[in-house]
Amino acid sequence: MGRMEFGPSVVPELREILLSTGETAFYGPDGRLTEVKQVPFLEQWHLSELDFDPDLGRSRLVCVLTGAGKTVTATIDASDFPDLRDNTSISPEWNGSAAYHDLAVHLSVLIQEQILVRDPADIRTDQIRIRIPADRAKP
């Protein structure tokens, strides 16, 4: 049996999400709007590389992020996302984007949770495997 592979659309879709900016509203403690500005999805991080692994091809996605002098390489394996890996499905109950398929949206959430919200100085490793933790409950 061959290795599981990602569909080709995941790279351009995920890149577009990661390199996007979005309007962010800032509020004071009294709830009043103080500022509105465009904030990058990556915030304090920068995308250095996003592509399939040169050796493993479409079975692994490699995402290299840099921030405050720190470089983190995130690897994403197709075998960890067997039901979404084609990047052709849209699940309206959790994917509200008009333009992106489930895998790209889900990976953007996981990258945000596991890397982007963290201070680069607090990340102790330079390699992170992006996947659903094994302890997540199933319905």
């Binding site: 959430v109 945000q112 409950a137 199933k138």
Partner: protein, 147 residues
């Protein structure tokens, strides 16, 4: 005669009444509602209602469950932080993946005279208000009594 109000007279809970455990064990329906939250609207005055479903590994309680142990105080504290963040956010960002990113500072105060500033983050789907995920990010410790 002086009138002293009991705590229940002036304290209005900001978080919903929640069960000690959300009841999202094996077999619970993905669309079972765990809690609803009053959420400040991004582009208008007033509030909307955001919903936390049991969900699955992609969204909802089952997705965010591992983050509860990374925060302090268990599920009750986590749900309270979600409620505060959605009701009175410091920021609401519109993301191209169809989600809001809402943040607020949460102060964890200690009697010993210091506090820890957490940034709490809630990610609801823009169109439906279904909560995709939430988590706390521990920030600096301030060696002064809570403000």
């Amino acid at each position: 005669m002086p009138v002293t109000a009991g705590a229940s007279a002036w304290y209005v809970a900001s978080a919903p009444v929640i069960a000690a455990t959300p009841g999202c064990g094996k077999g619970a329906n993905v669309r079972k509602v765990v809690a609803t939250y009053k959420a400040k609207k991004h582009d208008a005055g007033g509030y909307r209602t955001d919903t936390l479903y049991c969900g699955n590994i992609r969204y909802g309680y089952r997705h965010l469950e591992p983050h509860i142990g990374q925060y302090f105080g268990g599920w009750a504290s986590f749900s309270f932080a979600m409620a505060q963040t959605l009701k009175a956010p410091a920021t609401i960002g519109v993301q191209p993946n169809g989600n809001y990113k809402e943040t607020a500072p949460i102060y964890q105060c200690f009697y010993a005279g210091y506090y820890v500033i957490w940034t709490f983050i809630v990610i609801p789907e823009i169109s439906s208000g279904a909560i995709v995920t939430a988590y706390g990010s521990k920030g600096k410790t301030v060696h002064e009594s809570c403000p």
